[in-house]
């Protein structure tokens, strides 16, 4: 068996109209077309979706975990960014 592996693809599935595509996992495929077909077989067998996006993993530019402190922690101390200082009027449900 050849040691050369097919490229890795990240798969996004839209579960129903109106919702956004969500990352569901990754798989290997020789090209984009095969990635979508494999995703259909691997991730939508139980009616999980109505649309598939495949993005080659190498094209995903990710944040650096070692920079997490400077990227994400500053927002922890800024509670005023959350809409928690309002009184919700009676009769408003689903908030």
């Amino acid at each position: 068996m050849s040691k050369k592996e097919w490229p890795l693809w990240e798969i996004f599935i839209r579960s129903k109209a109106g919702l956004s595509h969500k990352h569901v996992g990754s798989l290997r495929a020789a090209d984009a077309e095969m990635a979508v077909e494999n995703a259909r077989d691997v991730y939508t067998r139980r009616s999980e979706g109505i649309s598939i996006w495949a993005v080659e993993s190498k094209d995903v530019y990710a944040s650096d975990p070692t920079e997490a402190d400077s990227l994400f922690e500053p927002s922890d101390s800024k509670v005023y960014r959350h809409p928690t200082f309002y009184d919700v009027p009676d009769g408003i449900s689903h908030m």
């Binding site: 290997r28 077909e37 494999n38 077989d41």
Partner: protein, 249 residues
């Protein structure tokens, strides 16, 4: 035996035996993703067999259901084509067998959707969606392997050379078809064959594959005359029902 029963048995047995062959790949696929794809196809085919054989049992009216027909007939009572019982061989052979079959099944189900027999038309409509995907899957693989590396090209060409002789039986007709044709239940197989020939020609052209010049044909399955493979398939398929009659799980 009614012509309708015989015809549905032919369709159902093609699905059952090819589904069984594809299920043999479960856990042995060349890659994980393809393993799942082939198992899906196997399940689709077995599902079609269930609908068709249950309906055949109804038409027959002797109290046999799909399970009884699938598991408790003798080899000569199976009417699948020789093509679908051929061994899996390498991945290319399996794909070529599937492609030759899918290219015939798609136009067949398209035509059967308009059958005057409502049940057959409903089964065809449901199966067509699955079959379209099977054909897309198998034709893309034929093209990838044919127009791939030197080795993949050579292997799938060999698969074509081996399997080509079994392809004409897909278009076998006899008095069963003549009867159903006159009743408007089926359409002329010539239309299906014409469409099959176009699909096969286009895909092989793109895959840079040569149709064998040797046109010798091997037939028999539709009349219950099978290759030696059939006994082995049935031994595995029927073992449980034969050893433990009427068991369910």
């Amino acid at each position: 035996m009614s012509a309708l029963f015989e015809y549905i048995i032919r369709l159902g047995d093609d699905s059952l035996i090819l589904g069984h062959r594809m299920s043999e790949w479960c856990g042995h696929g060349p890659i994980l993703e393809e393993d799942i794809a082939m198992t899906n196809i196997a399940l689709d085919l077995v599902g079609q067999a269930t609908s068709l054989l249950n309906y055949a049992g109804q038409v027959e009216g002797n109290g046999r259901d799909g399970d009884k027909l699938a598991f408790l007939r003798y080899d000569r009572e199976y009417k699948n084509t020789l093509l679908v019982e051929q061994p899996n061989g390498d991945f290319g052979t399996t794909i070529m067998r599937q492609f030759l079959f899918d290219a015939y099944r798609k136009p067949l189900f398209e035509k059967l959707q308009n059958s005057s027999d409502k049940q057959l038309s409903a089964i065809a409509e449901k199966s067509l969606k699955e079959t379209k995907y099977h054909l897309k899957h198998s034709s893309e693989w034929v093209i990838r392997l044919g127009d791939g590396t030197e080795e993949s090209h050579q292997r799938i060409q060999e698969a074509l050379n081996t399997l080509w002789r079994y392809s004409s039986e897909l278009f076998y007709t006899d008095e069963v078809d003549a009867t159903l044709l006159s009743q408007g239940i089926i359409t002329d197989i010539a239309e299906i064959r014409a469409e099959w020939e176009v699909t096969v020609k286009n895909v092989f052209e793109e895959a840079t594959l040569q149709i064998p010049s040797n046109n010798w044909k091997q037939e028999g399955g539709r009349k219950g005359m099978h290759s030696e493979n059939m006994g082995y398939i049935l031994a595995e398929l029927q073992y449980m029902q034969r050893a433990y009659p009427n068991m369910e799980w």
